[in-house]
């Protein structure tokens, strides 16, 4: 629970501290099998009004990261180390009681599942005014008016009537709009959006993402947008952090990341998205296997067992975060787009290694036939 390592570095000495500054955050859960290291040494910072996209597969630690920053994890059985500074103030050691001053008022969260994140037996109006009445000294009528304006601003038709309805009376897209209204009620400076559109249709996804961006522009609010789909963050984030096995494996501004990705994992995530431009029945590139066990992760690079570029060094020695250019960091010994990386990939391809064949998207024999050994290993 206490700040450790370089957590006490004098961040505040810079003229204006970033809105959010996370240093070497580690979050683990105690289980019968041992400590699950869900977040393992993550550092990041975010300026006011900016958007950071956090991308990774299920189990990469992206959700735990956001909850850990907000202090929303259960105390029992959770081990949290590192520093979280909000506007220069250390908040990682605060008790839930002290954090109440931040929740809703300074930082808020939109969750993935709009069905379960609203209280089913509470009217929508009451769920929105709850935090307004908690943080702002306003009358009930004023809070109701505020809630009505909020619902109108998230483009819910007939907001006055909706205030008196229950969540089950709304569609999934409408419920997610209500969640956004609840999150925005007290004008937070930082919004965590944890897979806000994964449970929604593509058309509603586009509506909701546009709405969040519009609200963000109007309120000069910073956002951490968590998703497993690089397509969702491509047009909407200023910066992207790719997570794998609890750590950031690549971080860059969005344009740099897409133009010059260094990490084989980022490349593999991008190439597994079906593209509209490709003809039907194109073989999709896959990432064989699945993320490693976070109790006993393999030594060396955590992505090595699934990587198309893997070499002996990767299995023994974990790469540190290396600088590609100012603001662009990655964790790889044989990065994409370099002579070493190309040579490593070619060596694997010649040797007929499983992972290389899957990434290269060769027909029939490669995909599913290649997947079982690593896939079943973790099962």
């Amino acid at each position: 629970m206490t700040a450790a390592g370089d957590g006490h570095a004098p961040v505040a000495s810079s003229p204006a501290p970033p809105l959010l500054d996370v240093r070497d955050l580690r979050t683990g859960f105690e289980t019968d099998r041992g400590l699950v290291k869900a977040v393992d040494g993550v550092s990041l910072s975010l300026e006011a009004g900016r958007t950071l996209g956090v991308v990774g597969e299920s189990g990469s630690g992206k959700t735990v990261l956001s909850r850990s920053i907000m202090g929303l994890l259960p105390r029992r059985g959770t081990v949290r180390e590192g520093s979280v500074r909000f506007e220069g103030t250390e908040i990682s050691h605060l008790s839930p009681k002290e954090m109440r001053a931040y929740w809703g008022a300074q930082m808020a969260m939109i969750f993935q599942d709009p069905m379960t994140s609203l209280n089913p037996v509470m009217k929508i109006g009451a769920q929105i005014t709850e935090s307004i009445r908690e943080h702002l000294d306003v009358s009930r009528d004023f809070a109701d008016d505020l809630a009505e304006n909020l619902l109108a601003s998230v483009r819910i038709p007939e907001p006055r009537r909706r205030l008196k309805e229950y969540p089950h009376q709304l569609s999934g897209g409408m419920r997610q709009r209500v969640c956004i209204a609840v999150a925005l009620a007290c004008g937070p400076k930082l919004l965590f959006a944890d897979e806000p559109t994964t449970a929604l249709d593509v058309t509603v996804q586009a509506q909701v993402l546009d709405l969040i961006r519009q609200q963000q522009d109007e309120r000069f609010m910073a956002m951490v947008l968590i998703t497993h789909d690089l397509g969702v963050v491509a047009g909407r984030a200023d910066e992207i952090a790719v997570m794998y096995a609890g750590r950031i494996v690549e971080r860059a501004s969005t344009s740099v990341l897409f133009a010059d990705m260094k990490m084989p994992y980022t490349e593999a995530l991008l190439s597994s998205i079906p593209k509209l431009g490709e003809p039907p029945h194109s073989r999709l590139a896959t990432i064989p296997g699945r993320p490693p066990d976070l109790v006993n992760p393999p030594p060396g690079c955590k992505f090595a067992p699934r990587c198309a570029y893997v070499q002996d060094r990767c299995r023994e020695e974990e790469p540190p975060l290396l600088d590609a250019s100012p603001g662009h960091q990655y964790r790889c010994w044989f990065p994409v787009g370099t002579p070493e990386g190309a040579a490593a990939f070619e060596r694997n391809r010649r040797a007929g290694l499983v992972a290389a064949a899957a990434i290269a998207a060769e027909p029939v024999a490669a995909g599913p036939a290649a997947a079982p050994p690593s896939d079943a290993a973790g099962g």
Partner: protein, 351 residues
């Protein structure tokens, strides 16, 4: 579609499955009805994959379930291998079931948590007493192996597997009775992109290996394009557009198809999301669907005619001789773009 008609159906001789004028309605109390599927027709040739696309509530899952008679449709015919399933008795239908299987959206809740994976997969063989005990075990091993699950792990229960692995097990369960037709109801919607790619590749392999014909239901047009030979776009229980994916994606003729295509996030920061192309509003209630074209309340091209007259499915004008059909009074010409920020003129038209 918001339209009806059968212009897009092909020669009944070649079709493995032919669905004509399918209607599914559910009682909604107070004498009202939910019009889930209203006069939808399609056919599938053996070995083909038909993609059914649309938003939640468009009736695509209900259509898939009505094909396997779960529940039986309100009216219409479902001809599978030359027999009309809607006319069969319960026992006759049961005898056909091993030849039609389903794969569901949520891989974890569609597997019985208390049973071992090997028993879940073997159940179809046991019900039909196919082979003896040893040959059944060999068959389970073979099928598990083919979907990429180590048969040595067959003694485990579903919770010990990831979502992607559970979906592999669901596929193994579906193919073990050697069906002709599999209805895949959003099989990848609950999965990560990386796992989604694995499962889509696996479905293609299974199709080749076991000679399957697939109905692939999804809301993501990019996923549907990857697996389909023919795509049918649905809206509020009606058909909008049918065609080969290359034609349909290159030049969508129905405004709704264009909106669905525009909504797909592009993994390229150079392409800014186009807010004008975003379809506004929500799908109307299927209890009181709009008159005429059901899409008119959200359509920028809607006119009085759309409220009065339901469009019929017809070949796309310049697609003469091609496999491309649309149900729209004012279909898009290739290259035409729409501004959905002014959509819904059709909503103001009162009839």
């Amino acid at each position: 579609m918001a339209g009806s008609g059968t212009a897009h159906l092909r020669d009944p001789q070649g079709a493995l499955l032919r669905v004509e004028h399918l209607v599914v309605e559910f009682p909604a109390g107070h004498g009202l009805k939910v019009h889930a599927v209203s006069d939808v027709s399609f056919d599938i040739v053996e070995g083909e994959t038909l993609g059914l696309v649309g938003e939640s509530g468009c009736g695509k899952s209900t259509t898939g379930r009505a094909v396997v008679q779960l529940p039986r449709p309100t009216s219409g015919s479902v001809t599978f291998e030359g027999r009309d399933l809607t006319q069969l008795s319960g026992e006759q239908l049961r005898r056909i079931r091993p030849r039609m299987q389903m794969i569901f959206q949520d891989p974890i809740s569609s597997l019985n948590p208390r049973r071992r994976v090997r028993d879940i997969v073997a159940e179809g063989l046991e019900i039909w007493s196919i082979g003896d005990k040893a040959s059944r075990a060999a068959k389970v091993d073979e099928v598990l192996e083919s979907v990429g699950i180590d048969p040595a792990n067959g003694g485990r229960r579903p919770h010990e597997f990831s979502g992607g692995q559970c979906q592999r097990i669901s596929i193994a369960r579906a193919v073990i009775t050697e069906p002709k037709l599999i209805i895949c109801d959003e099989p990848v919607s609950a999965l990560d992109v990386s796992v989604q790619a694995q499962i889509l590749n696996l479905l293609e392999d299974m199709k080749a290996r076991y000679g399957l014909t697939l109905v692939f239901i999804a809301h993501d047009l990019a996923v549907v394009k990857n697996v389909s030979d023919r795509v049918l776009v649905m809206y509020l229980g009606k058909t909008c557009e049918v065609g080969a994916p290359d034609d349909l994606y290159a030049a969508p003729a129905h405004p709704y198809t264009a909106a669905l295509l525009a909504a797909i996030p592009v993994p390229d920061p150079g392409v800014r999301p186009d807010t004008e192309q975003v379809l506004g509003g929500e799908i109307p209630s299927p209890v009181h669907p709009p008159t005429g074209c059901r899409f008119r309340t959200r359509c920028p091209k809607a006119d009085v005619r759309c409220a009065e007259e339901e469009p019929q499915i017809r070949p796309v004008a310049d697609g003469a001789g091609r496999d491309h059909f649309v149900a729209c009074h004012f279909p898009l010409t290739p290259g035409e773009t729409l501004d959905f920020s002014h959509a819904g003129r059709g909503a103001e038209v009162e009839v």
